[in-house]
Symmetry: C2
């Protein structure tokens, strides 16, 4: 469950809608766990488990202030995800190009058809 | 292990170095499973398991040619990963900006120091 390579650990941590929602919430600013947990219909221990997975993957960090240990987003692993997925961009863009080409062909045919009438 | 939402299924499928290497190999073109499996020190059944995870996540598809069922990359789920991670770009870019600012400040101080000597 806890992959040893960094990128696998990041992907595993992101493979859960609650954990992604936690990151989304932290993208608006750091906050203490209690406040972070508010919108989730989940016990505080359940949230803490998710936070541990995110922390182990380096996606969040906890402040050192003794009283108020806010959670903060750490974006460095997300940058690695972005770099990894970037290599595949040409595949979905090529596909869009092909759809575009197909639609243009269809339009061409329709025009021809229109003139023939 | 097999998350129900599409994005979680994609992230879970990507959380393994062998599965990412399989996608990397398929990014050079479709190929039959045997050829695909060549560089991996793994049994064919082990590779097949990985392929099933990738297929379930919609990251690959198998051709319908009866004799030769090549594996092909499907980039649509990767596009969703790229879109998701894009929302966080400002966080790692801001961080780089801050490092940049800090380095410029340091350089400024050094220059001052240089002139004072």
């Amino acid at each position: 469950m806890y992959p040893s390579d960094q990128l696998s650990a990041t992907f595993a941590a992101l493979a859960d809608p609650t954990r992604r929602a936690i990151l989304g919430r932290l993208s608006r600013g750091q906050m203490p766990v209690k406040q972070l947990a508010e919108p989730f219909e989940m016990s505080l221990p359940a949230i803490s488990k998710h936070l541990k997975v995110l922390q182990r993957a380096g996606l969040i960090e906890r402040g050192r202030e003794a009283q108020w240990r806010p959670c903060r987003l750490r974006a460095a692993p997300l940058k690695k995800v972005a770099n990894w997925v970037e290599h595949y961009r040409r595949f979905w863009e090529e596909r869009l190009d092909r759809i575009d080409e197909y639609l243009r062909e269809l339009q061409g045919k329709e025009k021809k058809h229109g003139r023939a009438k």
